[in-house]
């Protein structure tokens, strides 16, 4: 996998050691700002509480982090790629729909169908959009993420997948 991402610049929002390691090991340069070919957004772990114990503010915060910020970030990334006349790859990483509370269930489901939509809307911009919804955190997730944002997955877009049997 040494050359999967050779010459690519990748921005990773959110902390995930296995993914950052795999993307770097695949040859990409990690950047925190400026031009990038790849944008990976990793959801921060959500608190899990029964819906009736969530305040509206907490509910809204969950949707904001799990859905709204991700959509807005994808918009920004795609606009920058179009301005450059270049394609790119977006990857969202988070937990499966039913892994946390109702806020997460709503956000993750919405994100999944958003991925399927943006993958088609931006297909002819050469921008691919995929998601991994999983409980796994190890090297397989890192490698799968690196593969999906590489040209080896050039024909994979609008795809939502997990890693393990419980995803």
């Amino acid at each position: 996998m040494n050359a999967w991402l050779a010459g690519k610049r990748a921005r990773i929002d959110g902390r995930h050691d296995a993914i950052a390691r795999a993307i770097e090991a695949a040859g990409a340069t990690l950047v925190s700002e400026g031009e990038c070919d790849i944008w990976v957004h990793i959801a921060r772990p959500a608190a899990t509480r029964p819906a009736h114990m969530l305040t509206h503010a907490e509910w809204r915060a969950g949707l904001d982090a799990g859905l709204d910020q991700r959509f807005l970030g994808a918009q920004d990334f795609a606009a920058a790629r179009r301005a450059r006349g270049k394609g790119g790859a977006v990857l969202f990483v988070g937990a499966p729909e039913q892994a946390h509370g109702a806020d997460h269930a709503a956000a993750a489901g919405a994100l999944g169908n958003l991925v399927k939509t943006l993958g088609v809307e931006w297909a002819r911009d050469g921008i691919r959009v995929n998601a991994i919804l999983t409980r796994e955190v190890g090297p397989t997730l890192g490698h799968l993420a690196a593969y999906l944002v590489s040209d080896y997955a050039a024909y994979v877009t609008g795809a939502v997948m997990g890693v393990g049997i419980d995803d």
């Binding site: 996998m1 050359a3 999967w4 006349g85 270049k86 394609g87 790119g88 399927k116 939509t117 993958g119 088609v120 297909a123 002819r124 911009d125 050469g126 691919r128 796994e136 190890g138 090297p139 397989t140 997730l141 490698h143 799968l144 593969y147 590489s150 040209d151 080896y152 997955a153 050039a154 024909y155 994979v156 877009t157 609008g158 795809a159 997948m161 997990g162 890693v163 393990g164 049997i165 995803d167």
Partner: protein
Amino acid sequence: MGRERELPVPAHHILSLPPPYDMPPYPADIFAGQTVLVTGGGSGMGLAMARAFAQGGAHVAVMGRSIERAEEGAAEIAKLGVRTHAMSCDVRLPDAVAAAFDEAEEALGPVSLLANNAGANFPILAEDISSNAWNAVTRIAIDGTFNCSTEFARRRIVAGQGGAIVNNSAQYIWTGFPGDAHSAAAKTAQATMTRKLAADWAPYDIRVNAVAAGFFPHATSTAGRREGGIEPLQNMIPAGRTGSIWEFGWLSAMTCTPLLGELSGQVIVQDGGESLRRSLMMPDFVPPRERADGPWGWR
């Protein structure tokens, strides 16, 4: 990414293109010492899977209904420098499958990787599907995947060693496939089996995944009777192109590598967005019955 070949899409569109065939995503020894059995491996998508495993150093047992086609495929794969063995087998028959595994293991050693690709598919109206045709298409894919996977798993469990299975499913499994009812049923069964077999065999370190493949043209593709071949069809796919057969082979083999050693129970759609293309305003609906001569026509 870029535009390295002439495609029938507008010039300002940007397409994502895969690396060339001679640059597989994994090292040439990633499957060294292992044997893969590929059903329907003599041609088409099965041959692409077999080549991809061979690019990772696996020995390849090529299984086909026709021994001639299996032998032709095996000869192609052998050019990659791995050992091969061609066999004829009807995957619908459990005893024949067991005998084929015996033959493959006799020739090449224990089979630790399995690619379930055997399938038949042709456009036809639902009301015209004979019981023979229904049985053939559904049982090759559904019973064939079950027979080969269970034979494989029993052997791996006895050996106390894990393994990996990849199933060739299709992009239309979650949407229906009007004009192809037998294949619609068959390919979704493969995908939903994938998840359950993965759960059943997780304790034995046997992983099971599927690639839900879009349109990857090859010599034996069915594309209906269409003037001009598949070139014009590239423009109908969001990605702006049909798939390159080797990128399907690579993803299939990738799911079986230790790089994705925890991946199991997954159905990965690889279709350039083909199954997702829709809008509220679309061209007039034409019932399959009335598009006999169109793309994917059944006549």
